[in-house]
Symmetry: C2
Amino acid sequence: MVPHLTTALSGPLLSLEKRMLSDIPKIEHWFRSQWLEYASPFYASVDLRNSGFKLAPVDTNLFPGGFNNLNPEFISLSVQAAQVAVEKVCPEAHHLMIIPENHTRNTYYLRNVVELVTIMKAAGLDVRVGTINPEITEPTTFETHDGQKLLLEPVVREKNRVKLNACTVDGVDLKAFDSCAILLNNDLSGGVPEILKDLEQDLIPPLHAGWHVRRKSQHFAAYNRVVADFSKLLEIDEWLLNPYFETCGEIDFHARTGEYCLALKVEELLAKIKIKYAEYGIKQDPFVIVKADAGTYGMGIMTVKSPEDVRDLNRKARNKMSVIKEGQQVTEVIIQEGVYTFESINDAVAEPVVYMMDHFVIGGFYRVHTGRDVDENLNAPGSHFVPLAFEKPCTLPDCTGQPDTVPNRFYAYGVVARLALLAAAIELQENDPLNH
Amino acid sequence: MVPHLTTALSGPLLSLEKRMLSDIPKIEHWFRSQWLEYASPFYASVDLRNSGFKLAPVDTNLFPGGFNNLNPEFISLSVQAAQVAVEKVCPEAHHLMIIPENHTRNTYYLRNVVELVTIMKAAGLDVRVGTINPEITEPTTFETHDGQKLLLEPVVREKNRVKLNACTVDGVDLKAFDSCAILLNNDLSGGVPEILKDLEQDLIPPLHAGWHVRRKSQHFAAYNRVVADFSKLLEIDEWLLNPYFETCGEIDFHARTGEYCLALKVEELLAKIKIKYAEYGIKQDPFVIVKADAGTYGMGIMTVKSPEDVRDLNRKARNKMSVIKEGQQVTEVIIQEGVYTFESINDAVAEPVVYMMDHFVIGGFYRVHTGRDVDENLNAPGSHFVPLAFEKPCTLPDCTGQPDTVPNRFYAYGVVARLALLAAAIELQENDPLNH
C-alpha cells in the first residue's frame, strides 16, 4: 500500500520527476563526484514533504531513531551499507558500543535500538549497548513493545575511554568490553555529557553532529548550495526542491523580545512564497513553519499563515515554543516555508521519511497521521503516527513506467533525501573543530 | 523452498557452521582486513558443493552469466553493490559499454545480459551493449526466453578505443557511444579478440581475468593460501573447506601422452582423500574430477573413481576431454578432489552458486538437476538445470537459530564463496602484467 497523492500529479513535480528519470546517469554521476569530495555521515534520516508541486526535505536527523519502521524484507540493504560504512570509518574494529537515547520508556525507540544492533551485528561487529542514563546503574534487560529483549549496560569511564564492565546476565558471563568505535544514537540535545567528553575512542557520528552544536539554519544554508548546483545540472527551478527560510536570533518567547524580527521575517517569507505560488498557479494559502533552530523531536514548532499569528502569541503558545527537548531554552528560531503534505492514505496525511546508511538509501517509511492537517508537522510529541514501511527500495526506478509510479516516486524521494544528506556532510565538515 | 540435505547435518559441517556463527565478528573483521590489502574483482560467481561433511568451492567465474537466476526481490542488493564497485573502479564514468558472450542463441544467457543492464543502469550509468560477434554487423534486437528485448550493437574500433556508432532503432535515434569503462561479460576463452587488444579504455574485469590466461590450478593454489589463513583463524581443519588438487601439464588426449602422469596423480589424490574419509568416518567412495585447467562451461570434465578410469579412455571420452569452449585444445588438466552434493530437492541434486559484486554477496541460486548423480558436475553442456533462486540474502545469519537453519546455511555459503573470491583477487593481482 502506498499513499495516494491527493493532488493530481500533473503540475511542476511531474515534470521534475520526468526530468530526474531521464537524467539518472547524470544525477548519479554528480552524486558520485560529490561523495569523492565529502565524507557521508555514517547514517541519517530525512523527513520529506510532498505537495505534488514541490518535494522538499524539512528535517535531517543524524541520529535516526526509526530503523524499526523500515521494511524488514530489505534489512539486508542496511547490512550491506553498514559494511561499507564500517570499512570507511573503522575497518580495524572488532567491537562496537552503541550508545542510545536515555528515554528507556519508549518501547518503540528501544525496538529501533534492537534493529540497529541486529544490523551492526550482521555487518560483522561484536555489538553491546552502553547507556549513559544515570538511572541505570547495572546491566538491565528491557523489553520492546513486541517482546524483544534489549540489554542496556551502564557505561563506565576509565581515563580517556568508556567501557562496559564484565557482568553476568541470565547466567551468561559477559566479558569487559572496550571498543575502539562507539556508535551514537543519542542526539546530544542536552549538550555533551561529561562522560563522553575528550574520549580517545572514535565517536560515530562525531560529537559536533549533536544538536547542541547543529543549527537547522546551517543545514539549510548548506542545502541551498547543494540544490543550487543540482538544479543547474538538471536545469530546473531550485524552488521545487528547496523551501525558503530565514532565521531570527535573540528570541525570548517569555520576555516577548524578538517578536518584531519574527513577524517581519514571516511577512517577507510569505510574500516570497506568494510570488512562487502565483508563478505555478498554486491556489493554496502559503504558510511558514517556525521552529527552534537547534530543535529536534518536533518540539517548539508552530504553523504560521500571517505575521499576526506570531505577534499575539498567548501564554500557552509561548510556553510551547520556548522549551525543547531536555529542557533547552529556545533563543534562535528558523522560519521555513511550509510545504503541504498532499500524500494521504484513507484520509490520513502521510509524510515520507527516507533512511540512509553511508551514502546509500536503504529504505524509508511514511508517517501516517490521522489527527493532523496537511500543513502541520507530523513529527511532534504526542504525534502518534503509524509507520508504513516503503514497500520497495528507492534505487530501482522504472524508466519505462510513468513518472508517478511507485518505484519512480521512491527514486525521487531518494534523490532529494541524498541532497539533504550531502548538505549534512558539508555542514559536518564545516563544523568540524579540527578544521578551525 | 530450500534443498534438503540428505545427510543429516550432524558431522563435521555442523560443527564448522557452529564455529562460523559464533565467530562472525572475527570472520568479518578478517575479511575487512583482507579487502584492505586486495582489490576485489568487479563481480564473480562461485559454484559450491555441499556434502554435509564438507563445503567447498569448485569453480570461480569472473564473468558470471546467471544474474537472471537471482531472486528479483533482492536485485537492490546488486544495485547497491554495483554502486560501490563503480565508485572504486570508474567513479568518473557516465557511460558503460557491456560486451557479452557471442552466443546469441542462448536466450537465457541474453536474459542474464538484460538483468546486468538493469542493475548497471539502476546503479546510475548510461548503459549500451556492444557485441564483438562478427555475425552481428548492425544493431539488432534479440528477444529473451521471457519476451524481454535486448539491443546488441556491433562494436567498432577507432584507434585505441572501441565505440558504438550512432544509429536509429525502432524510430529512436541513438547517439554515438564512447565509454571510458567497458564491462566484460565475455570470458575470453578463445583468447583476446583483436578488437579488444591495446585499448586505452578501462576493461572491467581486466583482460588477464580471461580464461585464455587463467588456470584453475592457479586459482586453487591461491585458495590454498587463503583457506590456510582462515582455518588458522577459526582453528578448524582446512580440508573441510578445501578440496585437494593436483595438475598434469603436457597432456594430449588424442596422442595418449600424459596418461601416466594423470593416473599417478589420481591414485595419489584418492589415497589422500581416503585417509581424510577414514578420519571423519565417511562411508562414501572417494572420487576426483579431472578437468581442463583453463576450462569453463563445464566442458572437458570427467568423474574418476580409480586410476584405471583414466588409463583406458575410449575414443569418445578422449574426444570429450580434449576440446573445450571455442575449440581450444586441452593440454593441461587439474585433478581435483570430488565433493559429493548431498543437497537435493525432490530427488534432484542441487548445487549452490553464490553471486558477488565487488566483495559483497548479493545472492545466489541452486542448480537443480534431475538427470545427474551426486558425484557429477552440474554445470555441463546440455546440463538443463533448473535454477532455484536463494530465498533470502546470505548476510543475515540468525545466531539464535540452529546452525542448519536456512539463513545460517546461506551465511556459510557466503563465507566460503568470499574465500574463493579472495583467492581470485590474489590470483588477479599476481597475474597482472603491470606487476611483472
